[in-house]
Symmetry: C2
Subunit: 241 residues, 2 copies
Amino acid sequence: MAPGPRWKRAIENALAANEKSIVTQLASIDPTTPIPHVRSLIFRGFINPTTNPELPLLLFTTDSRTPKTSQIISNPHVQLAWWIEGAKEQYRVAGLATIIPAPTNSLYKHFLHSTQAGNSNGSMGILFKEGFDWEAKRQEVFKSMSPYMKASWCRPTPGSPLVGGEEEAKKWPLKLEEPNAEGEWSSEENKRLWETALSHFALLVVDPTDVDYLELGPVPDRRTRFWRNDKGSWDEEALVP
Amino acid sequence: MAPGPRWKRAIENALAANEKSIVTQLASIDPTTPIPHVRSLIFRGFINPTTNPELPLLLFTTDSRTPKTSQIISNPHVQLAWWIEGAKEQYRVAGLATIIPAPTNSLYKHFLHSTQAGNSNGSMGILFKEGFDWEAKRQEVFKSMSPYMKASWCRPTPGSPLVGGEEEAKKWPLKLEEPNAEGEWSSEENKRLWETALSHFALLVVDPTDVDYLELGPVPDRRTRFWRNDKGSWDEEALVP
């Protein structure tokens, strides 16, 4: 049996048969008003602490200039809803989110502080103790993005008014060029764009505490709640769907 | 041009080409803790006030015993995220939600009170002035559900522990039988199940105030914010995606 909690293996099985079903929805709360926010995010995989594979993190990416960054910094409680159509399964993952921005970003200090002061029972605490290199991970994930996705982090602040309209938007770079194998750039402008994008690029990880797993395939439907216990593993209970 | 706001026509166009993309995610806030909750909900259509088709409501269904009911009664602010894969479009709809339970339900008084005292600028206020018959709508929508869906509202409280395990769950009715054309039941038990389901069945409507429309099809991407103005129509602005 593969390591990790049962809900994680269920997600992996569902994704193996439905590999395009990586669109999830992340809910967070606005810090100034009691208003919920929710948006689609692409699931980028799990991060597994070496010393406890029972506590995987869920990995996503974002632009550190988006409102969800300040929402999560003010209130790290989030919930994900993930409907995998082909499997007829829904996963609702509640947990604490962390934004991992560029070290040059003013929010980086907050990341360091919250990680060091954070919940040592969870994956983030374990990864901190293991000396996990978050900046290396951030760079690795950025490099794995498509040239088109990379270019999206060069734009003006997401959600700000489109000054100059569509004509202005047409001037945005469509895709970013990588340095060659020797790390050289074809132009100074390409280097500048890459560095701009990388400075805005952030990881968003969710350290799960509660997973509600709904299976609409079986008759009757099946629903299971998993919650992280104090021993660094998971308890589960069957619920009425 | 069909009546209604531009964002509504965009949803209708996207659904016309992707008719199975009716799974949305609704975020709400837990009344006792500042924790967001989000779950998948099937979009059941728009309700259009006769006197102002510019202000459509979004219609969903639920079980009045689910936690979202008490969450919405405590804090009606919700947001929907709706990713329509085939259209490469995301709609984020913020607004005020209302739960419309059975008149026999203890929450019904709250519904009446909130509707009468409600925001008269929005669709709910307009429909109240028009004398909209919510109980007739609730019964109509219930009847339109499949026999299998109808049976789901006969189960023990959703999310409660599954007492008796899967053996007990196998005793739940799989589908409900309708009365015949004369309104007669094939058995007293079938009548009782129908009435039980109908007593738990509730409408959930979202009266939108803000719509964030993201189009990932065009190059470059396009993002538009719509917000309801004081004149009972919509303003819009192009945003950076």
